[in-house]
Symmetry: D3
């Protein structure tokens, strides 16, 4: 039934490659099937003005797509002079989600900037970004731990987080939508959860018909399954 | 327990005033307690380029806050030369939600532009905006119906929609958060539903601790109650 | 002769409502007939860089129109990323005029920001804005007087100011033009005066034929009459 | 009494040099003492969208100052990415004034763009710009007259216009203020008149104390004298 | 002598990987040692306005660096709302160079857009970009050749081009500078040549002391050697 | 053979007029035939952030063309809100070249800003700008020398620089191209040299066919001749 021939509750092949580029404190290539995102985490001393002197750290995120990561070329945002609304919405979601992984007070007055750059897109770029960025964040925290001047106050990591998309496609709940499904789905939902099974964010949008409470529950059950697999793969990557 | 003394499942006083300003095809002042938003609906012939020749219409929305609608003055976005990420996120949500109310094919090649301008803010501006804008949209459709040249193809109204915020405040699920609650809530969720009880959009964000499936369900139950009251008030306003 | 049936020297119904919104130090709804403007005054400690350490305060103004305050919707300036030339011209005029009402040295190093937002337009928005904003400014000054840390040096209020438009319409000088007159007038003049009868600003533009010294004098006489009525209404509002 | 030793009703040395640069249809260097402005007039076929098909032409103006035309360098507006409010105000004034010189219907669907670029500033740049630009405009009209395809409908020139500043300096009305006077004047007024003695625009601003009707009249009398001299010099330049 | 231990006339390891991403007509990963750039070529029907109806095609290029492709994170240009001067200079060079590879008249009214996105930087990003982009361009031309509607008029490929940097480092001419050399070089020169040995562009800048004609000649000799190696590698990649 | 009738190795008439405007520390009108550029040099205490505390000074440049300096009017960059790529490329070249004239450490923490504004263009505006700006720079340095608080550390002038364009026009190498030649040249090269005969920058672009090493050498020989004449004229101007 699915264009890819997958089972409704089947994720695509997931790959998480650490140390993908060499300059960043954390650098991960995350692949959800044909969706490929470079996630880097950069550590800087200091925090934005609204936190100065608070003792608290900050995590922020930026997102971009290479112009030809998609089937038809989209304008380069740097050349247009403006990020699209979609980009802004996504990078706010990534930043918010990753802040939930940390105790910002323990981070000390450090800022971690996450960059998620999509080099090839096939649906689910925001959930791949969050899942990969969380691994890059762990690598950046590890660098900060070794830094005598980093001034962290204990381990800031509260929990791992991962994200997956679910949806209703041709009337049936499915897990981890690719582009062919995403563009035709009746409902599209992004779910971000912790390794303790709590929700960080649920965003479900009816693209066609409204969805019912039962459909919502079915999608959340699929998301729970997918996220537990992603959390396992994150741990394997971090163990390498 | 709530700062306002309300019951957990109690909405604020809601007022919907039609024909608030005189130029727009639809013009509504919506009040959720001290949150006050002017919602106008403007009808224009023609559609954006990507729809030309498709026979389909379009609904889009823009959102703004007067600089001193809030407790401390925020920069005027027109003077900064840029809308904030929050504004962009909200206006995309409003537009997406209102498009769900209509059959755009029946609208014909007309564009309805919704403007939601907050003149006083006390939490819940996006849900008030959607609820009020849906009424302004109905007035605009009524104008278009009378217009011989409007070229609608039957009644484009599929369903009424309304929106409310729910959240976990001091550990308890509450309905229709005001600013005092919103800024201290552990979880904040915006729910948009149809008059048939389907979900158009659910956006739930853990601001502090993650939330559980039970908490999610409790919040959705409150939202369902609040939205049924709002749908009733919309009908009363439209009956006047 | 006038589209509204008014006498040449007759103002529209004027209403000045204080405390229109609840957050700002001064908040006034001013109505010149169907022209309705929300004027707020915000007090902030500190001054722009060019005045730091001077001991002097500052008053600045911003102006905007809701997109559908006019008969056809105009682009939202925040979305365009740019204020129009007209907006910039008007807000410079408002700020300059209100600075004339105060002794900025006595204000101390405080900044008062005036926001004039037109929610419904029917001609004369800039003169209504100045007239209403002067009342909001008085309320803001009163708040500052009660503030022990506000550091004013005596009463900064030198004089009340008010503004009105006059013009030549169908060959005859008229007072307080509405949109129907304004868009067809041969000459359009905005006059801002003090309660002692001095001129703060005179801006007279020939839209069609040039105007003579006699016409100029006739318009100024009308303006003088209108402004004395506005100053009276400002006092009544402040006395409430 | 005046820093320059001039009489209160004495203009600075005025020079109007036609054909100053070689590419533009009209190109004038205008000098009001040490204020030097290059005014060019460019003729283009066609009109802005709002006039297409109307048969009417258009005149528009842009103004700029070389960054070091002033005593301290000001930011280059092209590099800042934004024209200042002052620039926008001035170029709107120049355009409006020059449109008053022509019958735009007779101009046919042609656009004349005036560029006024200040290469050295010493007060009065906007009045010098208008006075010089009117001469450049005449040269551009002459080019258009010879153009068989220009499609003018008769002579579009209704009248010559010229502009001068007047003010109250140390309590006394003075004509054609230089920078030393302008920056210390109590009142600053720009007056634009036709060769038939009518007013096109009067803009008088109290920088310090308000001004009286008598002072207004005294300033207008000075302006009338100065403008008649300028109109004479324009004619001499055009006769060369 | 060189930080990398290379001989003065030794290139870094060069790798050219075609079909690196799957959506673009041409997609190449080019590596000059640790410098890695994704070069894509996108084919669109139609040309920019200034070429419409001319029968001629167009090639244009855009360049960007991922924020953390460098040792310290640079601002994301899309978020700043502006490309840097360096970016603009580089993308103009890339576009100009690649246009030299083609006979644009034979291309027909098609536009090929080159995107060069640096994912890891270690000096020489512009020369790597040009060298890789020329291969991507060939793949795009091959796609266009098979397209019945592409309307090319014969083979538009005039010549292959490749680019390399040379410089004076510690007094000695060296080939293909990495970042450690580039940031300390006295002279930095970028050379772009055809497979027939002609120069397309030479840009040599003295960063420290001026350079002599002899040094210029020595650098050009090194460039000639490096470029012949690059042209060979391009052919091998295209033969795969 | 040349449109102007000049010999292949003949410069246009060159004029360098110092003290052209009165406010700037250095102000030069430079004319290369019909190309006329105002070059000013402004001295400011302090340096950009990246140099603060380094003891080193800075030289930066900005470039602009009056909209009608060219045959057809180009958009005013200040009004477009953006400098073109060409402008940015040119001003970077001017700044880089002039920094090569000075020992920035001896300049002390002062910034010299060069503004090159083209009032009439006929090819070669960038080389005229550099040649004229170097003279303005000398005048600014002289002002700084007399300034007790300027805090220079000895004479920062290392060498004079001058610039000229050369090219291949109708198959023959020519010196100092005017617009008629420039727009038809097969190769266009800008050369910047010191008074000791070293190269500061060479930028040679094949506009049509690639160029050979022999042609490169021939162009450099012409450039050397032209630059020696320019250096002589700079000295004459500075001696006045």
């Amino acid at each position: 039934m699915r264009p890819s021939g997958r089972q409704p509750d089947q994720m695509r092949d997931i790959r998480i490659t650490r140390h993908f580029t060499r300059h960043a404190e954390g650098s991960v290539l995350v692949e959800f099937g044909d969706t490929k995102v470079i996630c880097t985490a950069t550590v800087d001393r200091g925090v934005p003005r609204f936190l100065r002197g608070s003792g608290s750290g900050w995590v922020t995120a930026e997102y971009g797509m290479l112009p030809r990561s998609t089937n038809t070329r989209s304008d380069r945002e740097a050349a247009r002079g403006k990020q699209t609304g979609r980009t802004i919405e996504i990078q706010r979601l990534i930043g918010r989600s990753l802040r939930a992984a940390l105790d910002l007070n323990k981070l000390g007055e450090n800022t971690i900037t996450i960059d998620c750059d999509v080099i090839q897109a096939d649906g689910g770029t925001r959930t791949a970004s969050i899942t990969g960025a969380c691994v890059a964040l762990m690598d950046a925290i590890a660098v900060l731990k070794k830094d005598k001047n980093g001034a962290m106050k204990g381990n800031p990591v509260k929990q791992m987080i991962a994200a997956v998309s679910v949806g209703i496609y041709k009337g049936e709940p499915v897990l981890d939508l690719d582009y062919a499904e995403d563009s035709a789905a009746e409902t599209d939902m992004n779910v971000i959860m912790t390794d303790a099974g709590g929700f960080i964010e649920v965003q479900g949008t009816a693209e066609g018909a409204p969805y019912s409470q039962d459909e919502l529950n079915a999608m959340l059950a699929l998301a729970r399954k997918g996220i537990s697999e992603l959390l396992e793969l994150q741990q394997q990557a971090l163990a390498d």
